[in-house]
Symmetry: C2
Subunit: 587 residues, 2 copies
């Protein structure tokens, strides 16, 4: 729809024949005076077109400034020979203006509305409406809408119903990161904003819905380090009478649709699968970036019976020796020692480096402790070629792998920056050990274990039917087969050290729901902001969220959050604590 | 997708040939023992199918109870002659069970899971997951998903981008109905939940987006009378370089799509237009139910120079006499007097009834005061036929019309209950007079007036470029052409008695945005819950919202809102007021 104010959009002009009269409307992206004639780049949402204005005939043109909003009437014509602009979709044509109306003038701009100038992010957020006019940001808004639409169509075509779940929900005692909403009708009571629709989508399954999805707004009151936001969007889905294979295939369909909509030039993605144990073992992380190899290798066999105490001691304690070929890094001695420092920062007792030399020998601070067979074993196991840097670490399997895995990410480089490497990681542990020696759910407490028996007898090693989707080393989302048997759910709570009373108090209404013929069910949630950021090549999710907050949770445009009037708080039965008010007054 | 647990869904069986082996999964909707053989109605999301089980071969069948979740393996076969069930899509076939597994048993049910039993709403909400299994509610969930999808496709095909706006926004001092969210990083400060995305969609227009839409969750902390909810959903849209005609055509496209998706049997709706003045004049309301006529008629000319003081006095004061033919109601004298009482409750000084008699006379308490010409004029103007009840009222134009309009709604009956009568009402006043004699925006303060000049010189009578969409006498949504000129916006604030300082404090950042080349723009918001309620014939929006709150804002399923722990409030810098805590302890 062009809209009443104009007859066509900029891009439409390409398809019009010479001499067609048009009215266009948009913004002055650029204006050059060439010998008394103005060449105006008029930008609208469809693109840019050149408008030629003779100010002696249209004196209004004299007042035009950058980003004025104007309507132009004129005639379509080819650009004169040699003046075509191949960079522009409309580069072969122009409009000779016969009428010009300033719809809305613009104050001088805080920054240039183009992609050629770097603008401080705070300023961009304060003037987000001008930021949207930059071609990059406009393209991101379009890409997000296109991906949303494509994913929705993929889900709908698989028979999923989009169902809205509430965002004013019950706060649970474990909801330390819940954002709260005070109730006015019931003063002193609070709703919570959902961290996810988890419970509600499981209730939909109990309700026989069978196939649910939703683009769901979720909330999490946490630190904004590592590129998070108070509110974020996930593609949330759940199904009954299916299992992890079905879930993964539905998720893949939605991801393929989004990828095709936004990155049609990217090759159709594959979705290889690793178990959690393999992922840690080979990449030292549960979210491996598989755009490059540089895999970790277990060298424990090579060092079986070694004289080198640094390695032998670790093996004797049931640990491992792991190595990684980081390639020909060309690092100096101090560069190599820097890696050792980095490993120690990451919690390693030590790290050994070795540089492969001609003839199969190793240059390394530990070379003198190693037997010939060990050197040969390392070189062979790590396929070392001359000048390759080899990194070796010894200690417990998981922490050693993870430290080496972090060095892998520090040092590795994807082969092509355009590649999209999706990956499933499956079979996570059911529980993680907490700092105080207890157990916490690795995923969430509604995740089904592979074996109830194993979960009871060996909870630390028990595996769950949970799965994560990883893209280019970033966790895109996670899901699981859920517990549908109330007795198994009770067993999980017991293992977590939650008493029957406490379980009843915290989850009673949910446990009750499970007792009415709950079908086997499983689901997933895709972090949509993160997916979009990677698909459009943005460095932060803030670049794909239309109106994000800063890392301090502030909106520089509207000034939220802000103080409110005493009367409003009184209606809610609340008071700001005296120490906070005192701090205000001291300001 | 059937899902791994089963090979087919119930409805799929219709298309299978006799002898096909299937595994189905679903719920026991009914089970009848016929001479030792069980006839089980197995229900899944696709429908119901009859499964025939011989408990002597499948002893698990003995334990089956209502709403057990089961998987059944068996063979497709036609039902024996004469036992087909024409009410069922699968009524010609059945599955002879060869295997049966109870996936999940069910406790005894709090209510029957069918549409034949009326269930108390509070119980339905407490067990919403069982309520969803009732065919009516399941159909409503499907209808809502189908309508959402159809409207989205309609918007996308018109070139609209779906863009998410934030839900943690700035609270403004006039936001008395804002729901607040305390900030943890900035203690004592608050975000607000949006009553609508109004400001953000206007910022998107400033940003050059041109065509925006969103299914937006909105929040309003108000009384729940008249079927409202704390959170609700609207189809929100906005466009630039267009006007009210364009907006209406885009809204109509989305409404037609939703209607076709949910009520394909309803005739294609038309969208007639009334001005606000006509609507009040002819129907006594700005949201007329035009499924029936019974229009109001201005009888002022008939009573020009009347001797009857009750009417003459009103006319002398610049008022009107209005009448309505309510048809042959067959009311007794006390029934007719009841209408007079009702009118007085509604604020009328009085109401006159008259019953048309053979020969053009009127039976009425006021008959003796009327001239022959007046009686004839009334009979003719109201096209009165014998036994028709005529209602007459005199007084100021608007209040008289509105009281008669309310009686019209009380007494009128739509011809067919299936009819969908959409209607546009346009040209609302810019302002409404407040009880204290001031002015308030009739729509919102960003609505463009038809004439800036008129708005300044005669604000009470100035008309705006606002429009409402009405369906069957319910307001479905509203919109307007917005002000895009900061000077006009300032003029509106001035007329509202808002000082420059106050405007700057409340809307400064928005007024600033308008100064950067804001395009002419206009938009709309459709109350989606209300649309769905009418389309599916539900009596409350609670029946089309998956997890609604009660009229007290409570969720009987999860118990929200609830008290939270002291530590959580401390993190937010808040205290529950002592008087509230005291009331808790007194409980």
């Amino acid at each position: 729809m062009a809209g009443t104010v104009r007859t066509h959009r900029a891009l439409d002009v390409v398809d019009l024949s010479e001499g067609t009269e048009v009215t266009l409307a948009g913004w002055v992206a650029r204006s050059r005076d060439m010998g008394g004639i103005l060449f105006v780049d008029l930008r609208d949402a469809s693109g840019v077109i050149q408008v030629v204005v003779d100010p002696s005939e249209l004196p209004e043109a004299e007042q035009l400034r950058m980003e004025y909003c104007v309507a132009v009437t004129g005639t379509v014509r080819p650009r004169p020979g040699g003046t075509s602009n191949p960079d522009l979709a409309t580069g072969d044509v122009e409009v000779g203006a016969t009428g010009l109306e300033v719809l809305s003038p613009s104050d001088p701009l805080p920054f240039m509305v183009d992609d050629r100038h770097d603008v401080d992010e705070l300023t961009r957020l304060e003037y987000r409406y001008l930021d949207f006019r930059r071609p990059d940001m406009a393209a991101r808004l379009r890409a997000r809408a296109a991906a949303t639409n494509a994913m929705r169509q993929a889900m709908a075509s698989l028979g999923f119903l989009e169902i809205e779940t509430p965002t004013l929900i019950a706060s649970t005692p474990e909801g330390a990161r819940d954002m709260l909403v005070p109730s006015r009708l019931r003063q002193g009571s609070f709703y919570a904003l959902p961290q996810s629709p988890q419970i509600f989508k499981q209730l939909l399954m109990v309700g026989g819905v069978e196939r649910y999805f939703q683009f769901a707004r979720c909330y999490r009151d946490e630190d904004f380090r590592s590129d998070r936001q108070l509110e974020f969007t996930q593609l949330d889905l759940e199904g009954a009478f299916w299992d992890e294979e079905d879930v993964r295939s539905a998720v893949e369909a939605s991801i393929v649709a989004a990828t095709a909509a936004v990155r049609p030039e990217a090759s159709a993605p594959g979705f290889p699968t690793l178990t959690w144990r393999e992922a840690i073992d080979r990449y030292g992380t549960d979210k491996p970036d598989v755009r490059f190899d540089m895999e970790l290798t277990d060298l424990s066999e090579v060092f079986e019976g070694t004289e080198f105490r640094g390695f032998g001691g670790a093996l004797a304690e049931g640990g491992v020796v792991k190595g990684m070929n980081a390639g020909a890094l060309g690092l100096s001695r101090s560069g190599l020692d820097g890696l050792v420092e980095r490993a120690k920062e990451l919690g390693a007792a030590g790290l050994a480096w070795a540089v492969a030399e001609d003839g199969g020998s190793l240059r390394s601070p530990i070379a003198k402790f190693l037997s010939e067979a060990e050197v040969a074993g390392v070189v062979e196991s790590l396929s070392a070629e001359t000048d390759d840097v080899l990194l070796l670490i010894a200690g417990p399997w998981r922490s050693s792998s993870e430290i080496l895995g972090q060095l892998r990410v520090d040092l590795g480089k994807p082969k092509g920056h355009d590649e999209l490497a999706y990956l499933w990681v499956v079979d996570f542990p059911v529980f993680e050990e907490t700092d105080d020696g207890g157990l916490a759910p690795a995923h969430h407490p509604f995740t089904a274990p592979h074996s109830v028996e194993e979960m009871r007898t060996d909870p630390v090693n028990a595996l769950s039917r949970a799965y994560d989707l990883v893209l280019n080393g970033t966790e895109l989302g996670s899901g699981s087969v859920r517990i549908h048997d109330p007795a198994v759910q009770a067993q999980v709570f017991e293992t977590l050290g939650i008493s029957d009373d406490e379980a009843e108090r915290r989850f009673g209404w949910f446990l009750r729901a499970l007792r009415y013929g709950t079908p086997p069910h499983a689901g997933f949630a895709v972090g949509f902001d993160r997916l979009m950021a990677i698909l459009v090549g943005a460095s932060s999710i803030r670049d794909v969220i239309p109106f994000p907050k800063t890392q301090r949770g502030v909106d520089p445009l509207t000034g939220s959050p802000s103080r409110v009037e005493e009367a409003q708080l009184e209606e809610l039965g609340l008071d700001v604590r005296p120490e906070i008010k005192a701090a205000w007054e001291a300001d």
